[in-house]
Subunit: 752 residues, 2 copies
Amino acid sequence: MLVNDRVKPYLLKARYGLEKESKRVDLSGNLAKTDHPKSISRRDDHPYIQRDFSELQMEIITPVTETLEELFNYLAAIHDVAYRSMGINEMLWPLSMPPQLPEDEENIVIAKLKSVEDVRYREYLSDSYGRRKQMLCGVHFNFEFSDEFIQALFNAQLEIKDYRDFKTEIYLKATRNYLHYRWLFTYFYGASPSSEKNFFKEDSLNHAVRSIRSSKYGYTNSDDVQVSYSSIQNYLSDLSSMVKRGLLSKEKEFYSPVRLRGGQHVSDLVDQGIRYIELRNIDLNPFEPYGIGYEQAEFLHLFLIYLLWKDEGENCDEWVKMGDYYNDVVALEHPLEHTKFEKEAKNIIDEMKHLVEILDLTTSDTLFVHLKEMLEDPSKTLSGKLYKESQKNSQSQVASLIAKENYNKSWGKPYQLAGFTDMELSTQILMFDAIQQGIQVEILDRQDQFLKLKLKDHVEYVKNGNMTSKDNYVSTLIMENKTVTKKILHQHGFRVPKGEEFQTIEQALRSYHLFSSKPFVVKPKTTNYGLGISIFKEGANYEDYQKALTLAFKEDSSVLIEEFIKGTEYRFFVLNDQVYAVLLRIPANVIGDGKHTIQELVMQKNRDSLRGSDHRTPLESIQLGELEKLMLKSQGYQINSIPKKDEIIYLRENSNISTGGDSIDVTDQIPDDYKKIAVDAVSALRVKICGIDLIIENTEVPATNQNAYGIIEANFNPSMYMHIYPYQGESRRLTMHIIHYLFPELLQSQSN
Amino acid sequence: MLVNDRVKPYLLKARYGLEKESKRVDLSGNLAKTDHPKSISRRDDHPYIQRDFSELQMEIITPVTETLEELFNYLAAIHDVAYRSMGINEMLWPLSMPPQLPEDEENIVIAKLKSVEDVRYREYLSDSYGRRKQMLCGVHFNFEFSDEFIQALFNAQLEIKDYRDFKTEIYLKATRNYLHYRWLFTYFYGASPSSEKNFFKEDSLNHAVRSIRSSKYGYTNSDDVQVSYSSIQNYLSDLSSMVKRGLLSKEKEFYSPVRLRGGQHVSDLVDQGIRYIELRNIDLNPFEPYGIGYEQAEFLHLFLIYLLWKDEGENCDEWVKMGDYYNDVVALEHPLEHTKFEKEAKNIIDEMKHLVEILDLTTSDTLFVHLKEMLEDPSKTLSGKLYKESQKNSQSQVASLIAKENYNKSWGKPYQLAGFTDMELSTQILMFDAIQQGIQVEILDRQDQFLKLKLKDHVEYVKNGNMTSKDNYVSTLIMENKTVTKKILHQHGFRVPKGEEFQTIEQALRSYHLFSSKPFVVKPKTTNYGLGISIFKEGANYEDYQKALTLAFKEDSSVLIEEFIKGTEYRFFVLNDQVYAVLLRIPANVIGDGKHTIQELVMQKNRDSLRGSDHRTPLESIQLGELEKLMLKSQGYQINSIPKKDEIIYLRENSNISTGGDSIDVTDQIPDDYKKIAVDAVSALRVKICGIDLIIENTEVPATNQNAYGIIEANFNPSMYMHIYPYQGESRRLTMHIIHYLFPELLQSQSN
């Protein structure tokens, strides 16, 4: 049936979701003694980061995605948020097996949840299984075949008339076969060979294995708990009988390697049939930064297709039981030993490969190569590799090193959000903050930086970090049009540079006396890279005026002559009638030390991790191109000149961050009256989120003085990252302010 | 002082404003018996169109402008609004002198204003001067030198220390000289040579003159009213003494040819000095559609500069009085007679011309040519011309013909707004409606269609006719992004075409079975002019599928395959959760008559005044280019084929209005449930003003049926004019709905 042409296109379509538990540890690898990080919204229903059994057990939950790429992007991103929310003194333990536990297991702190019921359930688990067992961590992989796929299969058969029944049958078959053949997964990806001190009360297990967690020593129900997968009815009635008989406190206590899912609750299965399955027998993969590898997930998807295709045994309960036995055998084999079922394993891999070929499936090139290698050389399996590395030292040291590596990765470029580093920096930071605050983030268009943010029923759309529903349409169009902006600001009594537009040089020459004695700028109406601009800070004589006009008219048929406003330009970031940040931008520069050349000083300065290229870092690297060399030349320098100690050498005329300029936060230094000007001007434009540029000659002079300031422009999508990661001065977390502006209920719930 | 280099650049800078009265008449030229048009907002404080003394006297008021071009644009536009608001049975009388008046002057109806005081004042005027005199109409020209100009003059002298005093002196000198020399203006532009029946009780004046209105037979105060222009103090004290002595009822009854203005009220002069002057001795120019010509206004500006430069007599009261005398002489000369002051006139014109040269002023090329001609040949003056033409027939018939011409001009293209025909059509219509509703319209950026609308303190900005403050920013960005729009609509349960995107032809070929059996479209992700698009309405075989892909990949590296939704496409115009118009667009076509060729039929159809080019008409002309010829060929026709009677020949595949398509209003034919879909979809996008395109297979089928409709796209700046001037069906005045949406207080005040 799978080979059917109407089925094939949908085979690799699916929906995925991951949950991944791990333990917080300190930088030495000891269990953390701290509470769940406060910076993560304290809601217990956080969609991405929760506590599991213990307060120090962090569970990372991805949203449901339709591709594995997306799944791993979210996994990476949520890890970044988790790491940086935990603070610089903690890391995540990369193993399923916990580090050394306290002797008295009562010292393992149960998660401090608000719900009494949730806490009581954990206390019950603690009593039934002991707290040590609860410290095992792993990955749960939620998998749903695409509806089109099942629909196509359904249409290709006649046996089962009801679509929902058919779908349930599909999942039941995949599940039974998965339970039967899961030893294969344990062989390849089992990764809990040894335990640390105090995990077992006695040394129940005295040799290394492939997976303690997946074996009978792991986290399993009592042997009396037996549930049939022969039909959904049997499954449900068995489950409920287990609960009735007191073998389980509730259905969710059933720790099968595969859980059948109808929705949020077990009871959903009755009405909805099986909608997806949850694979739970996955050890944390220590060699992957997020506990599971992409190839591993790909393997699981292919494996499930294979298992759907593969015939199963006649007695299905027996078939599943055999699987438990095989799995225990493989799980308890020594990690460097060849598996007892090597031949069967080879067979399955060959069949899977064949299936991939006849079904035209695309997979990673290396997947089957790696599987073959691991089969031939057990030291290349996860458990084998971990065991081998641990031999050199100790498993706990290996784990600590890996944890530190992941920690460094997350902290190395704290402005990035892993998984989404191709997106604009401000959007990455906004997504970080949204995830931290427990807001669901959906990417509607990645290239277009288009997000959907959701908190309960409240949905907000955001583009480019701060284009939101809070601003009205025409106000942004006003800001887009410099002439209109100036007109409106002028009508409201703000000072903007006065200007005149000319179409001919004669016309402009005739107006010489309009400008001659005051500071003014001559510029083409549309200007690229500042070409054709002349600035006369002290007025100009007729000859220079004429030259400037000739220069400008070379670039455009319209030339503007504008009043030049003297002073320093400041960027005010205004949000909802409040100034949240003021930034001073300084042209690209280096400071001499009397020893190094300008080129060396530039290289030194560029080494800062805040500098990079393409606006994917808060600051741009300083270039040493034509313009910079020209600028140096005009000061009598070359790139190999050695400036004196403390001498500041400017490499650019313009102060843009994008050409290597420095950003300096001066929010606290700017007097309130200038902030009021910024707020009032933005309000005159009827804008809520705005970056407005003021030129101020002297901030000590009251803003109400005549010509104390001039407004240059108002920007409707102002850069935020430069305020968040300035070169100097305090960081202003504007993205968080945006989030609180969009979701004011967050502040309310926090103050409650 | 004027020749000073610092003064010169500002000489032609000024602020202007016009008021122009005229009488409403019926199409035969008889005084209208109707009330002031109801379609003009009934507010008596309408900024543009008011009633003067009589109910049938319409006063058109321009805003203050900074160029004469702008002034005449507004004058033209307000005239268009006045004409079309009066309705098709009325016109405006083009002469200062009224048409035949009723024998009993009590039949001249006083303006039915709401203010008791305003009506009482008119009754007083009726008693003092008689209602006949009140029927004289003219133009008032408000003129203000630019502040920079006066400032520059002020800086170039030392005598007067106070700037306001200096300014007042400037205006006083110009005024006195204007009063002295105004006979020159009367000679050139006087235009009330004869009266009609019943204007004079007896035939007081038995020969034709240059200007009855500017003469002592015109609208003047009694001879006892004497006011000095020697200083502002004397002017004010004389005025108030006239009122005290009962010679004037209030200051505004002082009918001087020049009124000094400080602001709205005479009392403003005390505090503010003179801010501008109002020239009132201007007869309606019958040869200009708006009562005054551009050159005439230009003359006034230059004349005022000249008068500022020209020395005045020593005794200034005497000087003014002499002017009254000269003016009366000239006004009462026969229109074809050379003036007694020809030599003096020639002298002044020569001096003016010289001044223009030494001051580098730019003027219309023809101004001085015309002045010279008029001086040499009195029949070329306005009164001469009118008198001569009236000789052939009667003055009243000449006036009626002129009125009819103006009337035709305004009604010929009712979708245009004179003065602003270069702007987008929807913006022109919106401006029309705004002016009609008494909303002040300021153009912030003409090329950018950027308007400021103001009603009392309420300001709204509008770009492109319907980009307003009512829509939020991110929603318009959603609509701009088709992928995001589709995602959100889909998430809200609306049907949108399902699609897949492919980067390689192999990938797309592999998905053949995803589409093969259903209707679908293959298209390049970004498409120009429909290149590379293939539509398969019944699915496709593999070969055709492959061909379509090859074609599409030639145009773009990304190709979309999208479900094709069958049916007819309708444009729903949704405003604030309500459907105001539904339009069906039909490809360019002609209907055969069995006689004419296709080319002839196209020419015939294009003759419709609704058709034109460049979106400056509601419909576009049908072209006969490559594409049309190809389309004809595919049907077995050529452009000189003669189609059968009633045969419909399509010339285009696409139904765009911009390629000659027909627009058909079907608002009343579309069932409510489809309108609800449109409203709900727009609301899901959180949009207030939207043109949303639905494909409906059969409007008789309930919209809730599966696949009853599909949403193609949502447009954030939907065209409005095509609904207002459809090819067939009812007009939907969407611009008026926009105005009422922006200014809901208009509806409230109307219902009061």
